[in-house]
């Protein structure tokens, strides 16, 4: 498993190739690789996005991402998982997040990658602040993301 929080631009494809080469090179049982790559759009709610700032809670973010991937490894019987998430200042087209999983069969890798992304969006302490021509705003919870954590 590999979890990385990066504060500078990265090449997701290079990261995936390196992880596969270093951690899974001798695993000839792999039949499926599943990858999700999230990138910054240049629009949101009909507004042109100039930049995105991502904040995180050091240590807690890494702790929850590790837990999320560990749960997916056990539940979906994948061989391994990789999550890399950007923080700091991002521009349109920049990669925000990459999730990659490897398994014997496609269902396991598809399911694991989706579940890791959905859990990340509802549990991992990360927040987006968007800048457009009107100024900046903290983004609200994605309607598709289930928030099960306790609130006051």
């Amino acid at each position: 498993m590999k979890i990385k929080i990066l504060d500078e631009k990265f090449d997701p494809w290079q990261e995936i190739v390196e992880f596969k080469r270093n951690e899974l090179q001798n695993n000839s049982s792999i039949g499926a690789s599943s990858i999700f790559l999230g990138t910054v759009r240049d629009f949101n709610d009909d507004e042109k996005v100039e930049s995105l700032f991502l904040e995180h809670y050091p240590d807690m973010t890494e702790k929850y991402l590790t837990k999320i991937v560990d749960d997916a490894i056990k539940k979906h019987k994948i061989f391994d998982g990789l999550v890399i998430h950007r923080v700091g200042e991002l521009r349109p087209t920049d990669p925000i997040v990459v999730v990659a999983t490897w398994s014997e069969h496609r269902e396991n890798a598809f399911d694991a990658t989706r579940e890791i992304m959905e859990s990340l969006k509802s549990e991992a302490p990360l927040w987006k602040k968007e800048t457009n021509a009107k100024g900046f705003r903290w983004l609200q919870v994605d309607k598709e993301a289930a928030v099960d954590n306790v609130k006051t």
């Binding site: 302490p125 609200q140 919870v141 306790v150 006051t152």
Partner: protein, 77 residues
């Protein structure tokens, strides 16, 4: 007892600070402490609470040396 309080995202902006070390009464809950700390700003959004990097609910009783964090629902990914 001594508590380290951390704020993130919009709550950090509203509070004008990210981290503060404070002394509080014994047996105070994480929810009551938030209400006390934010009485000036009248925060009325949803807040999530973590103590020592684990989510807790508002009735969690803080202990000496705890790090308590208050933040809005997460929006990563």
């Amino acid at each position: 007892m001594n508590i380290c309080v951390r704020y993130f995202a919009s709550i950090k902006d509203d509070m004008g600070m990210g981290t503060v070390n404070i002394q509080v009464d014994d047996d105070i809950t994480a929810g009551n402490l938030f209400d006390q700390l934010t009485s000036e700003i009248q925060y009325n959004g949803t807040v999530l609470i973590a103590v020592n990097h684990e989510y807790v609910d508002c009735s969690y009783k803080l202990k000496d040396g705890d790090e308590v964090a208050y933040f809005p629902p997460v929006t990563g990914g």
